[in-house]
Symmetry: C2
Subunit: 398 residues, 2 copies
Amino acid sequence: MTDPDRFLADFHKLRSFGAAGVGKGVVRPAYGDADVGARQWLASRMTEAGLRVEVDPMGNVFGLAGAGSLLVGSHSDSQPEGGWLDGALGVIAGLELARAAKETGGPPVSCVSFQDEEGRWGVTTGSAVWAGNIEQDKADALTDHAGIALGDARQAMDTMVTGPVDPAQFGGFIEMHIEQGPHLDTTGERIGVVTDIVGIRDMKVTFEGQQNHAGTTPMHLRRDAFQALAAFNASIEERFRNVVTPRTVWTIGHVSLHPNASSIVPGRAVFSMQWRDADGDRLKRMEEIIRDTAAEVADARGMTLSFGPMLGLEPVEMDARLRGALETGAEEVAPARWRRMPSGALHDATNVSRLMPVAMLFVPSIDGISHAFAEDTREEDLVAGLKVLDAAVQRLRR
Amino acid sequence: MTDPDRFLADFHKLRSFGAAGVGKGVVRPAYGDADVGARQWLASRMTEAGLRVEVDPMGNVFGLAGAGSLLVGSHSDSQPEGGWLDGALGVIAGLELARAAKETGGPPVSCVSFQDEEGRWGVTTGSAVWAGNIEQDKADALTDHAGIALGDARQAMDTMVTGPVDPAQFGGFIEMHIEQGPHLDTTGERIGVVTDIVGIRDMKVTFEGQQNHAGTTPMHLRRDAFQALAAFNASIEERFRNVVTPRTVWTIGHVSLHPNASSIVPGRAVFSMQWRDADGDRLKRMEEIIRDTAAEVADARGMTLSFGPMLGLEPVEMDARLRGALETGAEEVAPARWRRMPSGALHDATNVSRLMPVAMLFVPSIDGISHAFAEDTREEDLVAGLKVLDAAVQRLRR
């Protein structure tokens, strides 16, 4: 049996690595001192639990329980300003389940903390390399915002690395995570069993017009790249209406104007266009609207248009057997206070689904807050999540 | 009489200071080596012309012809990537007029090159300090984009400084400049006599919403600061229609989103709102629309709204007598191929108008281009401008 007190104690210990000093927040970006320290501590806890520790070249830390084991985990790196739960919840739950399984002789459970899920070098790079979604060479060449190459940064874990970790030894992967959205908190439900992880499309769009003097260039002669962006934004809002569902989201989160000065008509606007949905066909229809609309705006306003490479991650359906075990567990632990729901966020499970069956469960995020020091979840809900996982693991042995 | 060949020769010599090596472009920002070198050369040419050189603490370089003289000039500093004409045209024209007046015993003409018109530390700081629009102490505390204080940078001209220059010795100020816009080039006219310099308003606006995860936050729960900016932009475009004239301009040239990441709903948008018109009442009506619209958008979208301090420069009407002399000169030199027009750009003449009557004339900018290496004007138009100035000076003696 899992031990909720030990689980919570380990959890609070983990947040001491990189504690922000603001609420329960942590600053533990991938390969930083706090992250490496946390991984060393995790490895020692795994060893104490009787697990065989292996660390692959990316710095993904595994606590292995043998062939045919279920893998449970997530990631222990954080955003530059992160919460104590994002990733850490799944890692400590995995540790506790693996430890309990060893103690009770239950079905073997291995655990894992993936590296750089928060994407200092892109997105979920640790599990992406492990799953073969990106080659190590290519990942090593990626640079963070400060220009540091991943290949250099991962040297910080060199002494821990044991070599490649064979995915064939695992029967499946379960990841527990905070919801990072408001749905469970709003409805008062305690558990979300994930049906699928939404697909994501993300690309840079550039409008290039004519940089000009903001005093002497009449409005009708301007080719203002910011105005092109504004027109594009208004037009897609309108055109998406017939295509999207209430679960669909799209975001212009990054905008860079050139030269970005108050007295100069912007000659260039580079911006990010990101959209997410659980339906691959809908993602495709949205892409068509985006490309068509941008082309029409560019034509109408004398702009040169270009698109950057499109990041595409397909929606991932959760494995029916693993998911069924989680649903049964949820009904036992929180009768009528759980729901099925898609994951709007990307997770390591997306990458791992290339290798084995995967499933996920969510616990509520208070006020839907994540990627911030204020991120939090009631401890009773954290423990409820652990119990659902435990029940599912017991059921899967049968 | 002025000498067009000598005028053009000096002009090409000036562009050798900080020559960009791209077309006729120059890189001669205020107080840089190229700028100081150019000012030393200008001072030597003034001395050779029999003028008394005085340099005030800001580094404004005067070539003085005595009490009651007309002051002619502009600025010789450039944008970080500037053209050879912006400012330099008025400076070399002033030098040639002052030199010719000395040679022929005509009415005395003094000349000037103001410092930092291009606003490494704001906008027209050299003439602003001379005219008392900003105190030297306050100007000295201003820092450029690299964090360098003006008070430190102006030490580069220390050995040239002679002391304050008394504005009471001048009967008026005339500034020749390129248009920096497309009107004259489009119509094929050769001279623009400026009626007024438009007023300018400029302020930062901030919408603060809620930073959130771009995957897990449903559209209807978002408080997206970029979307607030887009709504504001669309709304003012609509509301300005009943207020503006074809000469009115407004620009959102600077946008800064926070945290400016493709996977995060922007929590904050800071942007510049700038508007210009020759009518002070219209500027005021536009300000009301801007403030009201921003408040309505903030209310409707759950945003916190704040405004930065508003930069305000009033419209300046040109002096009727000086302007009349330029109009007569224009009709002599380019019959029926000149026009009266407002200046959409700010100039040193705006500051100098606090001290004495001012007037301006424009020559065409090819394709309306300025603040770029490609800035250019046909030499026959440069000479036409010089001749109009010359005719005006002769007329003003009578």
